[in-house]
Subunit: 674 residues, 2 copies
């Protein structure tokens, strides 16, 4: 069994048996373990990438001129366009492809909704304060840092017991309650960074609260997720969909969490954009008609058993993962596959799926996988894909009394035995007068089917039956008062509360990770010319973004600002505008090599350059970002060339085969030409 | 002068003189008055249109299962798609066309920003409460309703003085302060709808307030507009734009106003979507290079003088309006023209521009025009286009001390006379010891250029000059201590605070009005067949939305669900998905005529129907929504046909000329075929 690496045979047999029970499969796929780096090593260091972003105004702290507000960022023009493109891709990849019902719901939400969903009671972090300064900390993070610091301190000598206790805290802090955290603080005598005592831990709700309306009586919150807004609309969507199941609702919008410790970059913000899908289905049928499309897709999975055994993630096809019951059902796996393809289309390189461990999942969740992307801070949860069962619709239905069910029509009508209760109201009224209603209610609603049957057997003998009506009233029921008949009815279907699969996308986080993953630094001009002894002064950053999400698809550059060149530039720019291709013109007096470098920094995949030759023979050059190669193309063919390249209907290789290579390109590529 | 209707010759001469001063034009354009309806008469009544919207789930009250929250609405799938399409059109019409810098800023805003902008002090409504029930009213609305009710009551007899007083209140209530409103309540003895006394009026701030961060010390608001977020980023955008002026920032997003009296429909909501542009320019140069593109566009204008004279709006070209100084400057007029074209592209039929009267405008605004759309409630402000001067950037700069200027390079360097102040620190230090710094400061910064010149004249004689330093210290300045030299410097430019033109779009309001304006009810089937005596039972609603914003461009219908039909349907649907054309399939068993009617209700411009003929000769029918005509088209040509029709590259007439008319269409069109 050499192919099964990193897992003992015994464990495998146990798991196989366990999975076997669920799916009745016995053949076990080969486990293909996958080494994952713990952190992304960003070219030139994380700071280099962040510097490029800051310098080129991808994003910056909001309200910076007022000193900024933690956890709030603005997007500049490049990031705004990337964000819009990522959402458009999301819409075509998910909404259009699956005929989902995209709706738009509000950020402001009345308190009642979040009481039902459990957010008012449970959406909180454990916090503590420095008793002197009042500074606040998220206690789980603070404890984790404390443990890591002591465990990694080479100067600290500690006994085995303390070391083991610290390790235990580090591993379990994410699931500790506030009492246990308080005990930990006491046990280790933990103090604030300033050396002061800490206040007893308390829970802080992460939702922003406000008042709706002038009376100030309606408490409201800003939504911390989009899901509840979609659940509110379940019945409307179900009707709009003609009562057909399954179907999915989708929404895109802002969400808000009053984070105690917002992180730098776009990783943990107080206001951020989510895109969420709620796929409603029959809990008895979690197959998906299109699962076949992704069945053979091989993806990196980190199931909970591997995590618990501190073993590496593995490569499996989604079909294998479903067959052995590792992923709970085909619909969940289908969405994992679609999410994987979406992330790849955005340009993500390092993606894996981590299964939630049992103690991480909400009690109602059946199975949950996070799509994680590698970034400089480690593996980051970017998309959560959860089977939330029927929980949400049920709690809202319970609290509002509103019907939140769908109706399933049986393939064939089914027979159902039931009791018909024929009461003689006149006889009952005459016998019981003012108590008649209570007696009637008892006969019609309180008696079980079995009790009816028993009573009828007695009545059939002609005798009366003594019955105790609700409230303790004892009455005699005579045969003339009631007749219970056993009947068989044809039933065509049943109402059920749908089960929900929820893929939830943190768009900002995804884009942050993609930016880190596609960032690289081009060999400097000198190094590229062979003189590697020279230090490369001229670090040129490139974002290798796919054309689909790049802010601008093409930069239009006049080689120089001259009268025989600028009319061509304006003409080409107008043609791009007319065809809806996002372009930018760089007609600054900066040398062309530098302008190419600045274009690369924005992730623009192509440059079109107008030079004196354009005026002579009507050709321009097209430059490809990553190879720095250029071809000469007739002006009239520029728009279709860029269009097909961006749509990936044509590759750069095809263009090179069709058009002559531009000679100066090799030199310009490394930025020598000034 | 018969062409000048509705305005006296005297008034015209006065205005001409007044405008002449501003623009030095003497020829007056012909005034072309325009009768505007006061309210839109919606086909079948407003309720019919709202019923259709509700029935087809265009939008519905948010949190309806919890009883709803006033002023919060959710968009269903159709409206969500229309909204996205309207924003995409906005982006290509404005952002792409003008190379604007679109950015994305946060809803959460710290208090300081809105103190600077004046929102904390001034963004409020006057309110009152029923003293018994605590029910709240917006007092201006309540007073207006009170006046209208009494003035229109045929049973009430009132003297001329009271009538005139009520009329006066009705007209001026929008600009009354709370004292005057209180006096009005007292004068007329106005009580609550329940007949109780009213509390004294008070101001209620319309911004939603919250706390940012766990310490609860940072007060924050949800933005009531996007403008401030754009102003925060001015300097970043200016740098990103390479320091070039003019340029525009743009943003799209949610805004929030805690309205006291939210209205039904989408007219006045508590959470709504805005799209805003801030065009930054040199206050000395408000020309626009592309003004020529809209100069000859004739638009309905309602200038303030016409309003004050209770005269009709007029038709003028934007060129005429600028030439006579009616619209303040070409950039403002350019944006009015672009806004007009955008609204027309969305399908708006009734549009006019109303100029703000002097008492409506903010003190800093130079000129302001609202694009109004006609709806069942009257003319509704949907886009505000204001020249806000330099106000916003100046207040933020004043409060933060941050530079918010742009730099203007003069065409030619200009000479500027200035004084160079050469101080001998050693001599000053020796003479004044501890006071030396104060003396130095006086010489270098406190003396004006003229004072320096006078002082130098005395010093040139060799005498000392007595000077009074800040704080009252008297000192003698000797010739050896200082020398003031008059120098002439070449100055290449100057820093200035840009002026701002702000077009601000209420997207929800625009769409609401467009829906009302394009809604119509088709002649019933019977009436269309000539039997007009029959009442039309079968009212068929149509939204004549342009393809550009319709939620679905095409509905794909199998004539019947059969094995020789469904494969074609799936194939055509897949082709639409592949080409990114939003489509929907209606394969319910409902008769085709009914399905067409349902499609019309959603505003879908085209239907493709697969029938048994498709399987025989490979053709399908394409149906056009408004004419109900159908042509037969080969299946392979369906996608390009729909594509070019939607892009308006081809008209329906062209298709009719090219392809045979479908015979059954005339009957199906009116829904007879069952």
């Amino acid at each position: 069994m050499s192919s099964i690496v990193g897992m003992s045979w015994d464990k495998l047999m146990v798991r196989m048996a366990c999975y076997g029970q669920r799916r009745h499969k016995t053949s076990l796929p080969k486990y293909r373990p996958l080494q994952c780096a713990a952190k992304l090593s960003v070219a030139g260091g994380t700071d280099a990438m962040q510097d490029t972003c800051k310098r080129r105004y991808f994003f910056n702290p909001a309200f910076e001129i007022y000193g900024g507000v933690g956890g709030l960022y603005d997007y500049g023009p490049v990031m705004t366009a990337i964000n819009i493109n990522a959402l458009n891709l999301w819409r075509s990849h998910f909404v259009l492809e699956e005929s989902m019902l995209e709706i738009a719901t509000t950020c402001l939400t009345p308190e009642d909704v979040f009481i039902s969903s459990g957010h008012v009671q449970r959406f909180n972090d454990v916090m503590t304060k420095d008793i002197e300064t009042g500074e606040c900390f998220r206690l789980d993070t603070y404890l984790a840092q404390y443990c890591a610091r002591r465990l990694n301190d080479p100067h600290e000598e500690m006994d085995a017991e303390t070391r083991s206790a610290l390790r235990d805290v580090e591993q379990r802090v994410a699931i500790m309650g506030e009492e246990e955290m308080a005990a930990t603080v006491t046990r280790f005598g933990i103090r604030s960074p300033k050396g002061n005592a800490l206040q007893p831990p308390f829970r802080f709700n992460l939702m922003f609260q406000t008042q709706i309306g002038p009376e100030g009586q309606q408490k409201g919150y800003l939504r911390p997720e989009l899901a509840q807004g979609i659940f509110m609309n379940f019945k409307k969507m179900y009707d709009f969909n003609g009562g057909r199941m399954p179907f999915a609702g989708a929404a895109v919008g802002s969400a808000f969490r009053n984070e105690i410790a917002p992180r730098g970059g776009l990783v943990r913000l107080r206001e951020f954009q989510l895109a969420e899908i709620e796929h409603f289905m029959n809990p008895n049928d979690k197959d998906h008609p299109k699962f076949g499309d992704v069945r053979d897709l091989e993806v990196p999975l980190w199931p909970r058993e591997q995590q618990e055994a501190t073993e590496d993630p593995i490569l499996l096809t989604l079909g294998e993962a479903v067959d052995i019951g590792m992923v709970d059902n085909p619909t969940l796996a289908y969405f994992m596959g679609r999410v994987y393809l979406y992330l790849k289309a955005l340009g993500a390189v390092h993606v894996r799926f981590r299964q939630h461990r049992s103690n991480e999942m909400a009690h109602y969740a059946t199975d949950c996988w996070d799509a994680e992307l590698l970034c400089s801070g480690g593996w980051l949860e970017c998309v959560g894909i959860a089977d939330r069962s029927c929980y949400d619709l049920e709690v809202h239905s319970a609290r509002t009394g509103k019907d939140m069910t769908a109706f399933e029509t049986y393939a064939e009508p089914q027979e159902e035995r039931t009791v018909e209760r024929k009461c003689n109201k006149a006889a009952i009224g005459k016998a019981f007068k003012g108590d008649a209603q209570r007696v009637l209610h008892h006969l019609q609603h309180e008696l079980s089917a079995a009790e009816c049957q028993t009573m009828q057997q007695v009545l059939d003998t002609g005798m009366a039956v003594q019955a105790t009506v609700d409230g303790g009233l004892e009455v005699d029921i005579t045969p003339e008062m009631v007749r219970f008949e056993q009947v068989t009815k044809k039933v065509t279907g049943r109402a059920f509360t749908p089960s929900v699969i929820e893929p939830s996308f943190g768009i900002g986080r995804i884009l942050w990770c993609v930016l880190e993953q596609v960032y690289y630094i081009r060999e400097s001009s000198l190094a590229a010319l062979g003189d590697k002894s020279q230090p490369s002064k001229d670090k040129r950053a490139v974002f290798a973004l796919p054309a689909a999400i790049a802010a601008y698809k093409v930069m239009v550059c006049p080689l120089m600002v001259k009268d025989n060149i600028m009319p061509h530039v304006r003409q080409i720019a107008a043609a791009f505008a007319r065809h809806g291709i996002a372009y930018k013109v760089d007609d600054t007096g900066v040398p062309i090599g530098k302008r190419y470098a600045r274009t690369d920094e924005l992730g623009v995949p192509f440059c079109v350059t107008v030079d004196p030759t354009t005026d002579e023979d009507g050709t321009v050059t097209i430059r490809e970002r990553d190879s720095c190669e250029q071809v000469r193309v007739p002006k009239a063919e520029v728009v279709p060339c860029i269009q097909t390249l961006c749509a990936e209907a044509r590759q750069w290789q095809d263009l090179k085969a069709q058009y002559p290579l531009h000679e100066a390109a090799a030199v310009q590529a490394v930025g020598i030409q000034r």
